[in-house]
Point group: D5
Chain length 118, copies 10
C-alpha cells in the first residue's frame, strides 16, 4: 500500500481572472479519527469560493483531505484548519467551508467557517 | 439503571477564536412530559450558534437534554429555558434554538428562539 | 355526537415575554364547505407568529378551526377571517397565516396573509 | 348549505368486459368523526378493483364518501363497511380497500380489507 | 364536444381590501401548440399576486388557460401575454407569473415575468 | 396550424427476435376531453411490453396519442382502446398499459390493463 | 407527574370477524434505556396483523409502549417481548412486529419478528 | 453520421422588450472531454438571464452545447467560455450560468459565473 | 485528444466461485448518437449479474461503454448488443441489463434485456 | 492514537431462540483501500440475517469493520470475506450481505452475497 500523502494543495492560475464566478466543491468522503476515543469519524467537506489569483487543482485537494485519515481532530478544529490552509495557498476573494459530520451519540454536527479578503 | 443526569453544560475553550464560524447541532432525541396530561412528548432540538469564548462539549449537551426526560414542560417554555441555560454557560455571540415537536391532536408546533450578544 | 364547538381562541400569558421567539403551528386538517357548490374543501392552515402578551392554547385552536367545518367560505376570505380573529385575541407582534388548499379543477391555491403591530 | 348526500354508489356497465384490467381510485379527502371523542378524523381511502359487470361512477363515489362526514366510526369498522357496500353494488371480481388514517396520539393506523369473488 | 372557451378573466371584488396578503395559484395543466412544429407543448403556469381591487374567479382562470389549447405560441411570448391580460383585468398591486415548460430537445425552459403597480 | 394526426402506429421489425427483453415507454403528455363536461383531462400513459415480431416506432406513438387530443373518452375506456390498438398492430407477447390520470374532484384514478398472447 | 402505566393491552372484539383484513399500526415514539449504558434509546415499533377474535384498543397500546420508558432492553429482546405479549392478549391470525431503532455508534438496527397461528 | 455542428448561437428579437422577465434554460446533457485524461466528462449547464434586445433560439443552443462534445476543457474554463459567448451574441441585461459537473474522484464540482450589463 | 477506445471487456477470475452472489453495476454516463437524426442520446446502463467463471474489470467496462460515443444505435438494439457482448466474454450465470434513456419528444424509454445460462 | 482493532466478531446467545425473526444492521461508514491505486474506498455494508444460536454484539461488529480501514480489497472480494467470517462465527440460519460502494470512475457498484444453512 502507498503511504499517506503529504498535506499540500496545488494552486493553478485562475483561467478567467476577469470574470466573477464562484466554485463549489463537495467532498463526501472525508474521514479522520475522534481525538477522544480514537475511533473513525466521517463527514462531507464542501468548499464555496470566489477565486482570486488561483483555483485549486482537484487531485491535490483529494490527497489533502486524505492526509487527515489517521489523525485525531475535533469537528470545529479541523474545519477551521482546512479553512486556513485553503486561504493561505489558494488566496480566494471569499471562502465558505462547510463540514457536515455523521451522527455521533444521536447528535448531528455541522460547522460553517467563512473568510473574506480584506 | 443509572439515575437521571444533573442539568449542566460543559464549556470548552473556542479553539479558533480568531475565526468567524457557526456551529449547528441537531438533537432528534429530545423527550419530556406534557405538563397537562403527564404523557411523553417528543421533538428535535437544534442549536445554531456563533461561538464566543467557548464551544459546547457534546456529551454534556446530550446529558443536559436527557435531564428533561421526566419533567413536564410546555413547548414554548422548554425551548426558552434551554436558550437561557446555553447563553449563560456557553456565551455565544449569536444563538438560535429550534424546537420542532411531534404532532399532537393533529397539530405540529415549532418554536424558534434567538439571542444576540449586546 | 357532540355539537360543533363555538368560535373562540384561548390566550395564555407568554411565559417568556423577555425573549425573542417565533412560534409556528401547522394544522393540516382544516375543512370547510365551498360556498359555490356546498361540497367539502380541505387544506392546511399554518400560523407563524412572534408572541406579544399571549401565546395560543393549542386545544382551543383545534376547536376554533373545527368550528368552520359546516360553513361555506372562499379561500381568500377564510384565511383573512382567521388572521383577524387571531390578531384580536392573541395580539401577536407579527403574524403570518398560510392557507394551502387542496386542488380543485386542476388548480392549487395558497393564500398568505400577514399582520404586523404598528 | 346543501344537506348531506345519501349513501349510494352508481354502477355503470363495464365498457370492456372482455379485457383484464384493474382500476385504482385514491380519495385523500375522507373525514368522519371519532366515535369516542366526537372530534373529526381524517384519512385517505384507496380502492383497487378488477371490474366485473360494472365500474363505479366517480361523482357518486365522492358523494358516498362525503356521507360519512358527520358520523362516528372506528377505523377498522368504517373500512369494512365501505368494502361491503362496494362489493354489493359494484360486484368486482377482486377488491382491496386501504384506509390510511391521520396520526392520533402519536400512532398511525392503516387498514387493508380485501374481497375476492367466489 | 363543446367549443373552445373565449379568452376572458372574471374579476371579483377583493373581500379584504384592508389586509396585506398574497395569493398563489398553480395550474399544472397548461397546453398550447409549438409555433415551429405545430406539436403540443405542456407546462405549469403559476400566478403569485398581491390583490388590488380584485381577486380572480378560479373557473374563469381555468377557461382562460384552456383557450390557448389550439394556438401556437413561444414560451417567452405566451408567459408575457398572460401577464398583460392578468394585469389589465385583475389590476394586482404586484404580480409574478412563472411558466415552467416540459422538456423539449433535452432542454427545460422556465419563464418568470413580473409586474409592479407604479 | 397543422391538422390533427391520424390514428396509426408504425411497427418496425424486432431487431433482436432471439433475445428476451421488455420495453417500457412512459408518455406523460396525454390529454383528451372529459366526455361528461367537455373539459380537458390530462394523464400519463405507460406501455410495458415484451416484443413479438415488432417494436413500436416512437414518433408514430407520439402522433397516435396526440390524435386523442380533441376527443371525449372515459379513463377506463381510453386505456383499453389504446391496449387493443397496440395489440393489433405491434403484436407483443405480453403488454401492460397504465393510464394514470390527473386528480378530478379530489379523486386520483389509475387504470392498468394487460394482455398476454395465447 | 403521573406514575408510569402498567403493562397491559386491551382487546376489543373484532367488529368484522367475517372479513379478511390487515391492520397496520406505526408508533414512532418508542423509547427505552440501553441495558449496557443506561442511556435512552429511541425507535419506531410497527405492528401488522390479521385480526382473530380481537383488535387492539389504541390508547392501551400507547400506554403499553410507554411502560418501557424506564427499563433497559436490547433491541432483539424487546421486539420479541412485545410480540409475545401481543400474541397472548390479541390472538391475531398473523402478526409481524418491526422495531426500527435509531443509529448508535454509526449503526442502524431493525428487528422483524413474526408469528402465525398454527 | 452528420459531422459536429459549428459553434454559433442564434439571437431572436425579444418579443416583449417592455416587460421585466427572466428566462431559465436547463440543459442536463452537456458532455466534453477531460483535458488531463481525455476521458468524457458530463454535466448540466443552466442559463438564467434577463433578456436585452434578444432571446436565444433553443435549437441553436442545443447545437452550440453539442459542439463541445469532442473538445477538452476544465470545468472552470468551459463555464466561463460559454458565459462570454452568450454575452457577446445574446446581450442579456443580466446572466448567470451554472455548470454542475458529475462526480470525479469522489468530488462534485459546480461553477457559477455571472455577468451584468454596465 | 486520445482516440476512441476499442470495444473490449476484460474478464477477471471470480474470486469467490464457491459463493452465491450478485453484482450490480450502474453507469449513468452512457452516450451514443441517434441513428435517425445523428444527434446525441444519453442514458444509464445498469448490469445485474450472478458471476460464473469471471467478474468484469471496471475500467474496461468504462472504456467499452465509451466506445459507443460516436456511433448511431436505436435503444432496443444497443441494449441487446451490450447484453450479447457481456454474455460472450464474462459468461455470467444470470444477467439483466437495463438501458434507461433520457426523454426524447416527451417520451421516456427503458429497455430490460435478460439472459440465463442454459 | 489507538492502534487498529483485531478482526473478531463477538457472538452472544440468541435471547429468543424459539422466535422467528430477522435482524437488519446497516453500517454506512465502511472504508478500505483500493488494491489497484491504494486510494481510500467508501461504502455501506448491510447485514440481514435470521439468527441461529447467536446474535452479533454490535460494538464488536463496528470494530470488525474498522479493521479493514488500512487494507486493500476489491468490492466483490471484501463482501464475500465478510460473509464468510459472519457465517463462521454467528452461524445464522440465513444471511444476506449487501456492499454498496461509492461511485468510482462514474460507476456505482453493489455486491449482494447470500448464505443459507444446509
Amino acid at each position: 500500500m502507498p503511504s499517506q500523502p503529504s498535506r499540500t494543495l496545488d494552486p493553478i492560475p485562475n483561467p478567467h481572472p476577469d470574470s466573477t464566478y464562484e466554485v463549489e466543491i463537495e467532498c463526501p468522503e472525508f474521514t479522520a479519527l475522534c481525538p477522544a476515543t480514537g475511533q473513525p469519524d466521517f463527514g462531507t467537506i464542501t468548499f464555496k469560493f470566489v477565486p482570486g489569483p488561483y483555483i485549486c487543482e482537484l487531485k491535490s485537494l483529494k490527497l489533502y483531505l486524505w492526509s487527515y485519515r489517521d489523525e485525531g481532530h475535533f469537528h470545529e478544529d479541523v474545519t477551521n484548519m482546512i479553512l486556513k490552509d485553503f486561504v493561505r495557498v489558494i488566496q480566494p476573494k471569499k471562502l465558505e467551508i462547510i463540514g457536515k459530520f455523521n451522527v455521533r451519540g444521536g447528535i448531528y454536527t455541522t460547522v460553517r467557517a467563512t473568510h473574506e479578503q480584506p
